[in-house]
Amino acid sequence: MTLLKLERITKRFGGLIAVNEFDLEIREGESIGIVGPNGSGKTTLYNVISGVYTPEEGRVFFEGQEITFLPPYRRAHLGLGRTFQISRPFGSATVRENVAVGALFGTLHGRIGVDEALEMADRYIELVGLSELKDKVAGSLTPVEKKLMEVARALAMRPKLLLMDEAMAGMHPKDIDRLVGLLKEIKEEEKIAIVAMVEHIMRAVVGFAERVVVMHFGRKLVDAPTAEALKDPKVVEVYLGRPLEEG
């Protein structure tokens, strides 16, 4: 059944329209790649979904319940987890504490104590392979480590829907494959839908997304199973700026 539903979402900033009459449906346990060049409105879309922005027009539903005007923290409680394009760790806290925050205030909030949260944190830290760094201060991590930590933090929230914003940018192909594999596992185990947003790491999309949504100037250009979406000439045009055959 549908987990998240966007109805004709429009978000403006002053004059310019960042997201334009955007519709989207995400089913439980689905994995989607949202692709689009920089400035195509992807991040704005995420902010609308996670409640950082409220749209001028349109409505947002989560598990059938309207959440258009719900504050971000309530959405997190419902099961919306996300990572950020530029990672935003809680710098002065340790990796362990960072991830524990996710566990404490995610879908399990109120039902979990600090100690359990820390144990959970350890599990997810191990999962993303940061165990030996877990007592380091998050501020001191490398960008890639930070991204991994954010993934762990988001997973620790036990979300139903995980939004990843350029989670793989700047990563070594090896790491990407590892992360993709990892996400697949988790998806199977915990039945969470994952939306990964990427600018142009096709490797990740192909490797993991069942469905690809292509954004262009705030509009939905294509929404199709990965294989055919990537063949779609429109995509190719937007993507490489020119038709493939010429290349």
Binding site: P72, R88, S92, A100, V101, V114, M157
Partner: protein
């Protein structure tokens, strides 16, 4: 395992114990110890909000002022009721908490929506506005304030009254500081601590992580304010037995609190006491050694500290001891 959590209190309480003992044993040290414990106490109380949320409340002193009025009003109006006895002090404390607590709810509800500098200025506004309200509307004796040594003496007799102002008031301050420390630790260790750290570091991200930032900010704010009220009720009302608006709504006290918290290390448990001691002692010695020039010497030192060690003494110490046997004693 459970108890290890509370180890960090050991050095703090040791510090307060030492203060108490020195005051009791060494001649003429009591009032100095009282002054030091006052600084430690305000630091401990302010740290709960300032240190943990990173919000700068410049009008913090207003809460101490209201606490002072709470105690003053209770003594000045109830002293004739015999059967209340020491009860008027208790009522005083209750009033102090109520008044400072209520103000903090009011301020928190509106001003905590503001960030950074805007919040700081808003709180200054609250402090000054309140003072001028008291003077302008002639509340609680207006600018003439309340002097209640007489009432205190009549209620308890000269001996007891004097003991209250020159001994018990100071003991109370130490006690309040100790409680504040305990609360701080529970906060740091508890869920709220994680929430506060998160929102201090990145409020946007904290929200997305599912943290109801407003709720936790308000909790910290009210707690901190109530402690401030208690300190005012003891260190300013009971001890000095009078209150004049311009003396208690004095922003420089907020600044002293900030200095103490920053000196010791914002958000740490040990910070306030360390900061309080360093600040209080150095200030005292400067007054004794170079009367009249202490501020001239102090200002550059403050600047130096801010620029050189923004994380404060304990902050640095913490990094040093990470991974050593001392770690569990220091946060």
């Amino acid at each position: 395992m459970r108890l290890v959590k509370y180890y960090p209190l050991i050095p703090v309480y040791l510090g307060y114990l030492v203060l108490f003992l020195i005051g009791k044993t060494l001649p003429g040290m009591w009032q100095l110890m009282a002054m030091l414990s006052f600084y430690c106490a305000v630091g401990q109380a302010f740290n709960i909000f300032l240190g943990m949320t990173g919000y700068v409340d410049f009008g913090y002193v207003a809460f101490m002022a209201l606490g002072t009025y709470g105690m003053a009003l209770s003594i000045a109006h109830l002293y004739q009721i015999e059967w209340l006895g020491i009860g008027i002090i208790v009522i005083g404390f209750v009033l102090a908490i109520l008044m400072s607590g209520l103000l903090s709810v009011a301020v928190g509800a509106v001003a905590l929506r503001l960030r950074g500098a805007y919040f700081a200025i808003a709180t200054i506004g609250v402090n000054e506005g309140f003072r001028y309200l008291i003077e302008g509307a002639k509340l609680w004796g207006g600018s003439e304030g309340i002097i209640f040594s007489k009432q205190l003496t009549e209620a308890f007799g000269r001996g007891v009254a004097n003991k209250l102002s020159t001994f018990w008031a100071d003991v109370f301050v130490l006690f309040i500081a100790a409680i504040a420390a305990l609360v701080t630790l529970c906060f740091i260790r508890g869920k709220i601590g994680y929430a506060l750290t998160a929102l201090r570091e990145d409020e946007e991200a904290a929200k997305v992580m599912g943290i109801n930032v407003t709720k936790y900010k308000i909790i910290a704010f009210i707690t901190s304010a109530s402690f401030a009220g208690l300190i005012g009720a003891t260190a300013w009302a009971l001890k000095l037995t009078h209150v004049f608006p311009p003396e208690v709504f004095e922003i420089s006290y907020t600044v002293e609190c900030i200095i103490i918290v920053l000196l010791g290390g914002a958000g740490t448990l040990l910070g306030p006491i360390v900061g309080g001691l360093i600040y209080g002692l150095s200030k005292y010695w400067l007054t004794v050694i170079v009367p009249g020039f202490q501020l001239l010497i102090f200002a550059p030192i403050i600047i130096l500290i801010i620029v050189a060690f923004p994380e404060g003494v304990v902050g640095m110490f913490k990094r040093r001891v990470r991974g050593t046997s001392l770690e569990k004693f220091v946060i």
